[in-house]
Symmetry: C2
Subunit: 212 residues, 2 copies
DNA sequence: TTGCATCCTGACCGTATGGTCAGCTTTCAG
DNA sequence: CTGAAAGCTGACCATACGGTCAGGATGCAA
């Protein structure tokens, strides 16, 4: 019995319900897109009556915004790997690992994020123009320094970042395609490890940063 | 006056209207997703009354299916580059060029395709299990042969393909993000060329196929 | 225990959307 | 020239969806 007794404190109720709604919403938005998602479906998945959703989130847009913001946080968090590193091998390896872990553990989030961007970022445009831009500029600077210090070949930092994003997120966003091509089965632990290793090897070798 | 005289032949009318509808649909589906797209919007963009859409395409699903199939054709066509090539440098270079050209000229199509796959390929599942699988297996075999012949390092062919798809399609699917990070301007000719060169260089070097 | 704020929800509403259809116009084969 | 087939469309319909609300249930501070 993991189910605790009924009486919950107010705080807990709020927290748990919001969490359940956000989780359900993430999944439904990922599977159906914003337009295809319905509050009823999200409510059912969260195990709550629809009207209760509107108690916590006034509108569909507000709920969506919360979901997308959550994802953006996670996305940015993976960034820290970069800063701690002393060179491209450490930094990029760690970043690839982190992003692949997100693709594996948070595929729905990744899809919602992809969808949001594909549709022109109607909700997150301001974040992209501020936070994301700053983050990117910072990393570009780091990569530039690595190049100057001769730690890697002179590759355009921006295109390198795009490549890292694309390659890692692909395993979440196009997970269904990958599964289909994998005989309908999701990737095993081993296959995920191989994926990571392949990406790291090709990119690190490709930018001339591999020690060997 | 490029506008020809009114009287059109039946055949032309049909062809032109279908083309206009398909084009409008591709754009609207790309911008709003299947659920968010409305027949009215597509009709307006195509310059036709809504009822006329239903004359050519019975349902929204049927229209969507046509759009997605069109895209899939283009997607597969880029494949030919692979077969003609005698080695990874030629083959992969040409494939990257072709796919980048698609990303640039057909971003809406790419987005619809991405959306379709992200949502679990409800319409194209059968194609993925037949045509796409066969195509992929064929290319995997080619890459394997290149490896055996010592023309490139032993990289997992599947993960290499995913990397090619991801990297090239990213420029269409996440074009809005890239534009935003590019100061709100779309990439110039020069930037597209640099993108291609960067990708080719990193990947070809990464798999040990660069002549130099 | 009491009073109040928070939490919950079935029933309801207005609107937007996919789809239909009767009847019109236009093309064209014979 | 004529009739039938193809093309076209305004008006209409049923439904599904986002959102509202009145009023009941519940936790909790005092």
């Amino acid at each position: 019995m993991t189910e605790p007794t009924r009486p919950m404190r107010r705080q807990d109720i709020r927290r748990e319900n919001e969490k359940a709604i956000l989780l359900a919403a993430e999944k439904v938005f990922a599977e159906a897109g914003f337009g295809g998602a319905t509050m009823q479906l999200i409510a059912d998945l969260a195990g709550l009556p629809k009207a209760n959703l509107h108690y916590y989130f006034a509108t569909k847009e507000e709920l969506y915004r919360s979901v997308v913001q959550n994802i953006f946080e996670i996305w940015l968090q993976a960034a820290n790997c970069f800063d701690a590193a002393r060179g491209p091998v450490d930094g990029i390896s760690a970043y690839i690992d982190a992003k692949m872990e997100i693709s594996r553990r948070h595929p729905d989030g990744s899809k919602v994020w992809a969808s949001e961007v594909m549709h022109g970022a109607p909700v997150l445009q301001d974040y992209m123009e501020s936070t994301l831009r700053e983050w990117t500029d910072g990393r570009v600077e780091i990569i530039r320094r690595w190049i100057e210090e001769g730690k890697m070949d002179p590759v355009d930092p921006r295109h390198l970042l795009y490549m890292l994003w694309a390659t890692t997120q692909h395993y979440a966003d196009f997970g269904h395609q990958i599964e289909t091509l994998n005989g309908g089965k999701s990737l095993s632990d081993r296959q995920w490890r191989e994926a990571k290793e392949n990406i790291k090897r090709v990119i690190l070798t490709g930018i001339g940063a591999q020690p060997a």
